[in-house]
Symmetry: D2
Subunit: 120 residues, 4 copies
């Protein structure tokens, strides 16, 4: 994949045009978009709710493809909200990873996700 | 921002290393990660639930910064799930945008988000 | 409605029988049920995401009926989780209301939902 | 517990008074309440996201108590939304259970939660 195709800025630009062409910016308040985003996150949840963890790790191909498009929907709304709020999403993620690096020192939380969530 | 910093692949790689260093892959089943993702999406919701749409569009700077880090958390878990399932997130998003382009023709859904959601 | 029909215990008993008749208790871990519950909560969200607050307050009858059944789904899963965990849901709600009474004194938070959420 | 204490109508009435005393009805549009509800559902999710299903079935007492109050929060917002929309929650649940009884015949879906969700 070219650098452009993998870039969040490229998607941000494309999605802004998509909304503008449909005059949908009027609906795309951060409040509304946060609702659309969580609704998509829940469609992801639905794929996994009755599966065991092991089953969720080895989905059949047709299911993978459905899940893949749910992940796309989440990313799409996430990029839209960030754009509406003037947030650089990739920059924010890199910054948050640095914060997590400090907050969850590898030697203290190794093998214990619950300990990590207690720090939250 | 350099192309690398804005790239989803760069973040994917960094997050895989982060989890490996903590031996957290054992907790990172798609099922569990979908739960972590929706929990982060809900933290975003909490920022907006008592605000009007207009207020959600003009957040004060300290609030923007908090929201920014929630958006980062969502992206982080989204990238992790995609990685665990072997999904190329950017490619999926581009494909979904093409599907949406067909599904919601600009001249049919202009100015009507509800009509769009009826097609879902 | 009779006292029984309005009672949470009556629903709890009915739902336990429903699951037992289908041998579904094996899927009804609190973890899985929490996922099913949030998926239903998201279906509720979807009805409102592109509406204004005012529109959400005056839904047309066919929409009310759909929303009504989403609310039922949420209650059903909520009762199931409480049952599985041995929690008396009504008792917990009364207790939480007492806690909220202390936490959000009427004279301090009147007319300000945001102040309330800051206390959370 | 007395019939009244276990009744949804009793809680509905109490919660309406609670909101009125704080002048919070202005914030309690169905749209906003659906956001508050899903945020509480996500707090439930957070308790379970890194636990195995088995662990979620045998929570330690201090954790049960926290989860218990999350369940209460969900019920509280659920009752509020129903009240705002003029929906009788218990009646809706009984009706939905009858629908599910038809939709998921015990002899067809026994032991198979995934089959059930395919019918959704």
């Amino acid at each position: 994949m070219s650098d452009t195709a993998d870039s969040l800025q490229g998607l941000r630009q494309r999605l802004a045009e998509f909304a503008a062409a449909r005059d949908w910016d009027q609906f795309h308040s951060p409040k509304n978009l946060s609702m659309a985003l969580i609704a998509e996150a829940a469609e992801l949840i639905e794929h996994f709710q009755w599966l065991s963890e092991a089953q969720s790790q080895s989905l059949p191909p047709d299911k993978i493809n459905k899940v893949r498009l749910e992940l796309a929907d989440i990313l799409i709304y996430l990029i839209r909200i960030a754009d509406k709020l003037g947030v650089d999403l990739a920059q924010a993620a890199w910054e948050k990873i640095e914060m997590n690096e400090q907050r969850y020192p590898a030697n203290k939380v190794r093998g214990d996700a619950r300990r990590a969530s207690e720090y939250d």
